[in-house]
């Protein structure tokens, strides 16, 4: 077959041709391979390098499939990583040098899971999020200067076809779209306050775990008996337990198309500050595609996700496809139970270019899973006149709380509401009795 020769060569060549004993060469190739994977964003460790090396001793090195699966089992921890892995494995097996990419990987754009410039995707401008540019997150327009200027590739691309992406940030465009981009300070302040309220409110749910409780309602046999052993089996004192409360999951689905980006950014940035890692919170941003902020509201993650969202939007001015995005969510994460029993907050202006029926259907689906479905809309006054808001109108019957985001009082009210949610179930019409409300129905609460 010629396979054996090739395999040995390639494993050897991946390192560097030399007169080393074969184990050394294989070990070096394995380590190189792991390092390359790491530089592409997969999480590998010395441990997994070691496991891979011992796995290689167990499989037939001449068999491509066996080596592939050995490496796959040790280095891939997540289905999203498979694509990147395949590319790099192809190089290893093909005997191509495993070139380490430059450290630009720090910003994440050389990650092949994301359409970075090296992988046929489009170059993206980068924004720094640490330190002073935090102001850019919040302050926006006035602080354009602190924006990190995109790398050379980014500029080049930005000069022509990336115009759409940069437009969302360029000062000239901003002025012409002022009416949409302008959020009053008190709106943003209310949003930050909301994040603060959510932190304090910490809606809870009962878990199946119990804790010892003096006033509990269930007898704790274990502790009672244990205590009675000291008194010759006479149970003098009864011990009780009560369910342990757990934080209820909060799920944010934030629109970041067009003008919504700044609003969502402020919300997510303040949430990050307020919520921290201890609270159960998951956030997704979308424009036309859904992107998960994996490490719950990690700042760097937010930047990546926003870049991805920017890249996926062909046109910033015309609204987004909320219905499709929610469908994507419902089919993927929703099926895995992300929204089950959670408080779901959709942050969007509701300008939807898709089919209004799709949007309504998906919102209904999401509502069935969620404990409470909240929609925060910073531009509610346009719902009635804006043709793109048909979908929003169609979805209204399936929203538990509609919060006009331009009204600081309404946003503050939401904070209070979340605090009081507790275990109470929302009053909803049952499926059978839900009246077929057409798109023309006036959105309740929008006129507030």
């Amino acid at each position: 077959m010629g396979q054996p020769e090739r395999a040995r060569q390639s494993l050897g060549r991946a390192d560097r041709p030399g007169e080393r004993p074969p184990e050394q060469a294989i070990l070096a190739a394995a380590v190189d391979f792991a390092r390359t994977l790491r530089s592409f964003g997969l999480s590998t460790s010395v441990d997994s390098e070691h496991v891979f090396f011992s796995a290689l001793a167990e499989v037939d090195l001449r068999d491509r499939h066996e080596v592939y699966w050995a490496a796959h089992a040790t280095f891939v921890h997540n289905p999203d990583e498979r694509k990147a892995f395949d590319v790099i494995f192809e190089r290893l097996w093909g005997g191509q040098p495993l070139v380490l990419p430059e450290r630009s990987a720090e910003h994440g754009e050389s990650d092949p899971r994301m359409g970075g410039p090296q992988h046929g995707g489009e170059a993206l401008p980068q924004y720094r999020h640490e330190g002073k540019s935090k102001a850019a997150l919040d302050g926006g327009l006035k602080n354009q200067a602190t924006r990190d200027i995109p790398s050379a590739e980014g500029e080049e691309a930005g000069a022509n076809k990336q115009l759409g992406v940069l437009a969302a940030w360029s000062a000239t465009e901003t002025i012409s779209e002022k009416s949409r981009l302008d959020y009053a300070n008190d709106e943003l302040a209310a949003l930050r306050q909301l994040a603060e309220d959510i932190k304090r409110a910490a809606p809870e749910r009962q878990s199946r775990r119990t804790r010892p409780a003096r006033g509990g309602d269930r007898l704790d046999v274990r502790r009672t008996v244990r205590g009675s052993l000291a008194t010759d089996g006479e149970a003098f004192r009864l011990a009780y337990t009560a369910p342990r409360p757990r934080p209820r999951r909060l799920l944010f689905l934030c629109d970041v198309s067009g003008s919504m980006e700044r609003y969502s950014r402020v919300l997510l940035a303040s949430l990050k500050a307020a919520v921290g890692a201890a609270r159960k919170a998951e956030a997704f941003v979308f424009a036309t595609r859904l992107t998960r902020l994996t490490h719950s509201l990690d700042g760097r993650d937010l930047e990546r996700a926003l870049e991805q969202a920017r890249a996926s939007v062909p046109d910033w001015s015309g609204g987004t496809r909320i219905g499709q995005t929610l469908a994507e969510f419902n089919r993927g994460f929703g099926r895995r139970g992300f929204a089950r029993g959670a408080i779901v907050l959709i942050v969007s202006d509701g300008w939807d270019r898709g089919d209004p029926q799709t949007l309504a259907g998906e919102v209904r689906r999401l509502q069935l899973q969620a404990r409470r479905l909240v929609w925060i809309n910073p531009r509610p006054m346009m719902i009635d006149e804006q043709p793109l808001a048909i979908g929003m109108r169609a979805a209204m019957p399936y929203i538990d709380e509609f919060v006009p985001g331009h009204d600081p009082r309404a946003v503050a009210g939401l904070g209070r509401l979340i605090a009081t949610l507790g275990n109470e179930r929302p009053h909803r019409r049952t499926l059978a009795s839900a009246p077929a409300r057409g798109p023309a129905a006036a959105p309740a609460g929008a006129s507030a």
Binding site: A70, T210, R336, G337, G361
Partner: protein, 299 residues
Amino acid sequence: MPGFSSIGELTSALGRQRYLTDEGLGTVLFLALRLRKPLLVEGEPGVGKTELAKALSAAAGAPLIRLQCYEGIDVHHALYDWDYPRQLLQLRAGGSAPLYSEEFLIRRPLLEALAQPGSVLLIDELDRADDEFEAFLLEFLSDFQVTIPEVGVMRAEVPPTVIITSNRTRDLHEALKRRCLYHWIDHPDLKREVAIARARLPEVGERLAHQVCAFVQDLRWLDLYRSPGVGETLDWAEAFHTLGRDHIDPATADRTLGTLLKERDDLDRIRGKGLEGLVDQAAERANQLRGEGASGGAA
């Protein structure tokens, strides 16, 4: 656990248990056994993650110990508990046996797995348990020993083969993943699914099996809310067989569709698309495949 000396031996042993693996899963499982590493399998519901552990234990002739995870599971459900009622009785009866000895220890699955040499330990749907439990498990999986304060350290003579499944409702800790080998099980392709159906349901005719699988394979491309898994394919084939059909027809398909699709939206959508078309399409593909199989067999 008897050693399997090669990947081929392992997969054919699993095949005899009517569990058909592909090359990837076979290799990874073999490595997990040889390297004594836990195997973490993830995949869509219904691709046979749990079944894998059952088949492995049957193939190796090793006892299967299953720990079903759920929210709120804790040490007393997973590891050990004391038999308090018996302790009390002993105390009241004035017995002299020490109360905290193995006699009064109730072994829960994890401890049981340590006690039974060479067992297969299935930790099912780990993502349902809380993070704290996962952290606890970490310790267990790295040393295969546990400390019971009253008794001492209990260690496995032969560490169990551990298979962990997860449905990805949440991400498992990196630290846990690092200790495991990982495999993602995909839905089987048409050929493999037919083979599975034939192996699992020998009474179902070859023509029907082909058609049912072809139909289901088409459904999986349709981006449904809940794509049917292999288990549902088998149910559906069995439904046809029970109704005395040896091929699929639109009318019976319509009546039995509920064994396959369990979301109203999906049912509506498939019925709206027209079952006749889908059935015809599936029958055609099934014929093709059977033709290929026949000519391949002849060659």
